[in-house]
């Protein structure tokens, strides 16, 4: 049987997106034949590349033998996975009950106004994306947002803008 060329084509396409599949190979090898590891593989891939473009999903499908439809199905089911790139600083704005009661909607408005983007979009300078997420579990400090591994609590419109300015200033 003639060998399918799919994997090679995927790799080339992924190169254009600046995605080096070599980084994922150790993970794929580790989980080859281990059933139930698709989510773990996807989590590793997203950690490496920041997001999961369609071509990468096809590559993972080809390497693991899991049908593309199933890979895509899992990716779209869980909120953690994203198929679009995000800004350098990914802001996770908590939409838990306590944050909602204490004004998370106002903070979202501030983010939208200050950054000039809607949820999930990247700012023009590629610095920021914000996403609404379910409870971050820091309810007593509500409203809360998380950027990277750092949690910022008791946000006000003013403190939110100050935090963003500080992060942007660090980059210059």
């Amino acid at each position: 049987m003639e060998k399918c060329n799919c994997t090679k084509r995927q790799t080339e396409k992924l190169k254009e997106l600046n995605i080096d599949v070599g980084l994922l190979r150790p993970c794929l090898e580790k989980y080859t034949g281990v059933s139930g590891s698709l989510i773990t593989v996807l989590q590793t891939a997203q950690d490496l590349y920041g997001y999961l473009p369609a071509d990468l999903l096809l590559y993972i499908s080809a390497m693991t033998g899991i049908p593309p439809a199933k890979v895509y199905g899992v990716v779209t089911f869980y909120t953690q996975f994203r198929t679009e790139p995000v800004g350098k600083h990914h802001i996770l704005l908590c939409q838990g009950t306590a944050c909602h009661v204490n004004g998370a909607a106002g903070i979202e408005e501030t983010l939208r106004e200050y950054l000039g983007v809607n949820e999930g979009e990247i700012t023009a300078d590629g610095m920021f994306t914000y996403s609404n997420v379910a409870c971050l579990g820091c309810c007593s400090l509500s409203p809360v947002m998380m950027i990277g591994d750092k949690t910022y609590g008791t946000l006000t419109k003013e403190s939110t803008v100050a935090i963003l300015k500080q992060l942007a200033a660090k980059e210059v």
Partner: protein, 606 residues
């Protein structure tokens, strides 16, 4: 001397990381013989960052809301100059709030170093699991749990021993012990606090469960080693919890409490972590199993129950973090001691995450049977009041309106039912549920229709889509609530919501769908007047639904300072200097900025 800094997620967010590095740096620099260690969350989140100091003379002092200046004051106190520490000592009232509680699941949280297994062992840890594995038969362990009356703390409140026994009696070469740490209920964070603050309690609880469910060796079948495997399914949103748990697992393995032949017996058990990927429905046990298997997390019909056929079709026992964390205490102190706490219908304690418009939010562990009022006012200090504006007369006083329990599956309990006892049955009678222990307090600025909409929006997003009623019915209910909040509610909407709610309850497979209409039903039951105000009078009495608010300036209170006119983003406030101003309503975008900036409380929402 010993210094301990509370470094849970919330403490770190409040600045505990900086305080820790300041103190450890300064202590080393000053050459003091005083270890600086970390601990988890003690539960008094409103006091974070918290620093405990044990002085050489045996005195213990708790410093709260510690900032850079506070750290300097503590350092001075360590050197013998306690003159500046007063401002940072914990107020007596707050101390008694902590002492008011009965702590079992949170026993060690905020007291021991979660990254050091020796501190857990020093606090009596791993004695219970050793006793089980070495001295007790699995059946005896299950019997002890039965005597204790421990019920699942994740929401359903199912007796733990029953599940354990079912999993034990199901045949299968390998059995799985799964911990549900996919704490998805928005407004609850006790599982995070336990894993971050006392991960070994969870591990020990799982060891005991594994032994009770899966051990088949022993005298009669000597040499037959049982096969059990543990998995903790933890939310990816809890990075610190994952790190601390990984560290704790490694330490337990190194000490021989996990792995092959634990405690030198023929019983083997190990635990691995699986990070969830963000789906509320995975809190449902069959959905969680599907997710563990790498699939979309969609529930399936029960039976067969997971105890019969679960993960990879093998007998599996699933409990939540808090449930497992209670187990070591029960074995150590006996099932009777646990059953002595609480009421006839509900045994032991329950941890609640007290949040929302509460003065002293945090984690609270109280015996079953306490009233909601005792928790909200006794421990939580009542409603959080807004800061008083300096020049204003007649500042606003907020009143408690409702307490939401059980998250998206629960309901809103109105102020007049605050004396309801915290028990599975009594809460159920109000239309709410115990749930995983979220307790969100709401004052009169919270609109109950908007609250119902918020929860329904959540369940719509989190519905897995399998059952038509849940997938489409909830969406239709959300649309109705959207239009009510927009001031476009129609006569008959309340009846339509009630009818749809019943259909969804009847037509959904899992608890997510069956309970999704609860927030709507309870708010209609207790706050029907608010719905009617929205629909008929086009008014939101809580002044929360923007399309229904009208801002007006009181001619009596307005001093004509022009501040509001200057700050108005759409320049729709008119008036001369030193004479009352007026808002031109047709251009008003209802941003509320004028109300925020007014120093005289002259702008009112109508």
């Amino acid at each position: 001397m010993k210094v301990t800094v509370g470094k849970g997620s919330c403490g770190i967010a409040a600045g505990a990381g900086e305080v820790y590095s300041m103190l450890s740096g300064a202590v080393a620099e000053a050459g003091l013989n005083c270890p600086v260690t970390v601990t988890g969350c003690i539960g008094a989140c409103y006091l974070e960052p918290i620093v405990n100091v044990e002085y050489d003379d045996g005195q213990k002092r708790i410093y709260v809301k510690v900032d850079a200046d506070g750290a300097a004051a503590i350092l001075a106190a360590l050197k013998g100059d306690a003159s500046r520490e007063n401002g940072y000592l914990i107020p007596n009232e707050d101390l008694s709030n902590i002492n008011f509680q009965t702590r079992i699941a949170l026993k060690n949280c905020g007291l021991i170093d979660p990254e050091n297994i020796d501190e857990y062992i020093g606090a009596g840890g791993y004695k219970a699991s050793e006793k089980c594995v070495k001295e007790m038969l699995p059946e005896q362990v299950i019997e002890e749990i039965k005597i204790s009356g421990l019920c699942g703390r994740g929401g359903a409140g199912f007796p733990a021993w029953f599940k354990w026994n079912a999993a034990r009696t199901s045949p299968g070469g390998i059995k799985y012990i799964i911990c549900n740490a996919d704490e998805g209920d928005p407004g609850a964070f006790m599982d995070r606090a336990v894993i971050e603050g006392d991960p070994h309690a969870l591990i020990e609880g799982m060891i005991i469960a594994a032994y009770a469910i899966g051990y088949t060796g022993g005298a009669e079948n000597s040499g037959v080693s049982s096969k059990t495997e543990g998995i903790v399914y933890v939310r990816a949103e809890y990075p610190l919890a994952i790190v601390r748990l990984e560290n704790a697992l490694k330490q337990a393995r190194d000490k021989g409490m996990l792995g092959e032949n634990i405690f030198g017996t023929d019983f083997s058990f190990d635990i691995r972590i699986k990070a969830g990927a963000g789906a509320f429905v995975c809190g449902e046990e069959t959905a969680l199993i599907a997710s563990l298997e790498g699939e979309r997390g969609m529930p399936r019909l029960k039976p067969p129950f997971p105890a019969q056929r679960g993960y990879w079709q093998k007998p599996s026992n699933i409990n939540n973090v808090e449930t497992y964390a209670n187990v070591p205490w029960i074995i150590r102190n006996g099932g009777m001691a646990f059953a002595a706490i609480g009421t006839e219908n509900a045994k032991g304690t329950k941890v609640f995450a007290l949040t929302g418009k509460i003065a002293k939010g945090g984690l609270v562990e109280v015996p079953m049977g306490r009233t909601i009022r005792e928790v909200v006012y006794g421990v939580g200090g009542g409603i959080k009041q807004p800061p008083v504006k300096a020049n204003a007369q007649g500042g606003e006083v907020r009143k408690l309106k409702a307490v939401q329990m059980g998250g998206p599956s629960g309901g809103c309990i109105p102020a007049e039912l605050l004396d309801t006892k915290i028990e599975y049955k009594t809460l159920m009678a109000t239309g709410a549920i115990m749930g995983s222990g979220g307790m969100v307090v709401m004052d009169d600025t919270t609109c109950m229709v908007d609250m119902a909409r918020y929860f329904l929006d959540f369940t719509c997003k989190e519905s897995c889509g399998k059952c038509t009623h849940c997938r489409i019915g909830n969406r239709r209910m959300l649309e109705i609530l959207d239009r009510i909040c927009d001031g476009k509610g129609r006569d008959g909407d309340i009846e339509l919501l009630t009818e749809l709610a019943q259909e969804i309850k009847d037509g959904s497979l899992c608890a997510l769908g069956q309970s999704a209409p609860n927030p709507v039903l309870t708010t209609i039951r207790y706050f029907r007047n608010e719905y009617e105000d929205h629909i008929i009078n086009k008014k939101c009495t809580a002044h929360s639904c923007k399309p229904l608010i009208k801002y007006v300036i009181s001619t009596e209170k307005c001093t004509g300072c022009t501040l509001c006119a200057k700050k108005c983003p759409v320049n729709t406030i008119e008036g001369e200097l030193k004479s009352p101003h007026k808002i031109i309503q047709q251009n008003c975008i209802k941003c509320g900025k004028c109300k925020d900036v007014c120093r005289f409380n002259a702008v009112m929402a109508d």
